[in-house]
Amino acid sequence: MIREILQNQEILLDIKNLILNFYTNRGQITALDGIDLKLYKNESLGLVGETGCGKSITALSIMRLIPAPPGKIVQGEIFFDGKDLLKIPETEMRRVRGGKISMIFQEPSTSLNPVFKVGDQIIEAIQLHQKLGREKGKRKTVEMLEKVGMPDPKDIINRFPHELSGGMQQRIMIAMALSSNPKLLIADEPTTALDVTTQAQILDLIKELKKDIISSMLLITHDLGIVAEICDRVAVMYTGNIIEHAELKTLFKSPLHPYTRGLLDAIPKMNAHKKELGFIPGTLPDLMKLPEGCKFNPRCPHQMEICLKKKPELEEVKEGHFAACHLYSI
């Protein structure tokens, strides 16, 4: 609170104690176990974690895109622009989706409708949220395509998705998402499905767009390298909880949580001397059979007695640096 006032940062998105369960034939899975997350205006927040940590689910929850059976938000609030998104009616939420909050997904080839021309898909998005006529919509589309660096936009609008490469499809997605000037852009693993050189192009594009159209962004990824390039702050997730969050430099230079340290160690260093790669022993736990106490304890090199019994709370260990670990509990 004090920090916010001091640094004059307004909160754009405030997730409070979000608990989400999935009820399946095999039993109940708690996908999100009490998420507390704040995203400030004009900030890019990276949400990092491995398979099953719940990062994509968090994004889908914000957009209220979780299929209602089998999923159910049991508790929590998601405040955006002053309103609790979980309580507004669906008609209002639809205006938020694609309007005030836009999302781009991992697989551009399946996110675009294969039977419609690319231009038409963007125009549709523009018409829906900005109530522009078709002609104005077309002009805006060409404008957006230029902004995302598409060569020859007037030709591209008449193409179908399958005629374009992965990188170009992703640019289309970005153009569509940004056409409504959203307050928040959620990018869910936007470059994971792309080649390294294409990924570089897209990351470069996002960096450029951050200077003008993109105001606030939530970037979801498993790749800490991408986070380092684009984000201002980072939050790390593990099996449904946020276990650490801090400013970018702080997290990379002095990570607190053993899991974060493990993740950073697991990145191959270009100047490594030995043929050895860091790793975290053990495997991600089965979400049906989570360990007691701190869910990371079986794999943690600093496991203590209390870790087996009590789940650690997310606390502010240093200024602006939060971690959920008994090593730092007061």
Binding site: T24, N25, R26, G27
Partner: protein, 277 residues
């Protein structure tokens, strides 16, 4: 596993189908111990009695107890269907495996041959086979088996085509497995699931076919009790002893439907899971 059973029970039609199936099987297996009347024994004095006390389903024109005939008929019908689909499954699976694995000319030959079989209206096919072998239970079991064969072959061929491209098959080749071993240990075991699921549906068809063919006089011959035969016999008396036709027809209908619904439910349940890892 228990998850699947639990999900199965959530669907009311599945529960109903399961109850009917268990009831009919129970009837076939345990019925004879409870039903005292001999299905073949005639009591001319008691003929055409409506369903009451001693004869819960009534008696037919020859004074035979309809209830006991239904019970013994259950055995015949259920068994006939089973043998038929086993014949169809064994032949069809073999053809599907060969066809899908070797593709090319062999595949074309087999598939076009099966297409010819499928082009026959199924009664015509059955009539042709029965005419060659003479009307009997065995003949119709073979006829139905041959009729079911292309469906199994197509199903298996589809599975084989997709499994063949999987990395574990390539890995099998790398460690030196012969083609026959690959079919036996790598491809076939992974095809079993769809075979079993579709068999419930194919079984429903087989039961219907068996009864229908017997109804037409091509299969089980009177005086053997069989639901189709009994339905045929009951036609004559429809106006004044409707129960004679009603009961056997009802049982055929219920049993075939129950297996059909169960098969559908199983397929819906297991299908998406087949795609998840």
């Amino acid at each position: 596993m228990e998850g699947y059973l639990r999900a199965l029970f959530k669907n009311r039609i599945s529960i109903l189908s399961l109850i009917i199936i268990l009831f009919v099987i129970g009837l076939a297996v345990f019925g004879p111990y409870f039903e005292k009347h001999d299905p073949l024994e005639t009591h001319m004095a008691k003929m055409l009695r409506p369903p009451t006390g001693e004869f819960p389903f009534g008696t037919d024109a020859l004074g035979r107890c309809v209830a006991s005939r239904i019970i013994y008929g259950a055995r015949t019908t259920l068994l006939a269907g089973l043998v038929a689909i086993v014949i169809g499954a064994v032949l069809g699976t073999f053809l599907g495996l060969v066809s899908g694995f070797y593709v090319g000319k062999v595949d074309n030959l087999i598939m076009r041959g099966l297409d010819v079989l499928l082009a026959f209206p199924y009664f015509l096919l059955a009539v042709v086979i029965v005419a060659a072998l003479g009307p009997s239970l065995n003949s119709i079991m073979i006829a139905i088996g041959i009729w079911e064969m292309p469906y199994y072959a197509r199903l298996v061929r589809g599975s084989v085509l997709s499994i063949k491209e999987k990395e574990y098959v390539e890995a099998a080749r790398m460690v030196g497995e012969k083609d026959s071993s690959i079919l036996m240990y790598y491809i076939l075991p992974n095809c079993i699931s769809p075979i079993i699921i579709m068999s419930t549906v194919y079984y429903a068809w087989a039961i219907l076919m068996a009864s229908t063919l017997s109804f037409l006089g091509l299969g089980v011959q009177p005086p053997a009790p069989e639901w189709g035969v009994m339905t045929a016999e009951g036609r004559e008396y429809l106006l004044f002893a409707p129960y004679l036709l009603f009961f056997p027809a009802l049982f055929v209908c219920l049993t075939a439907s129950a297996f059909n619904f169960l098969g559908d439910a199983l397929r819906d349940l297991l299908d998406p899971r087949l795609h998840m890892r």
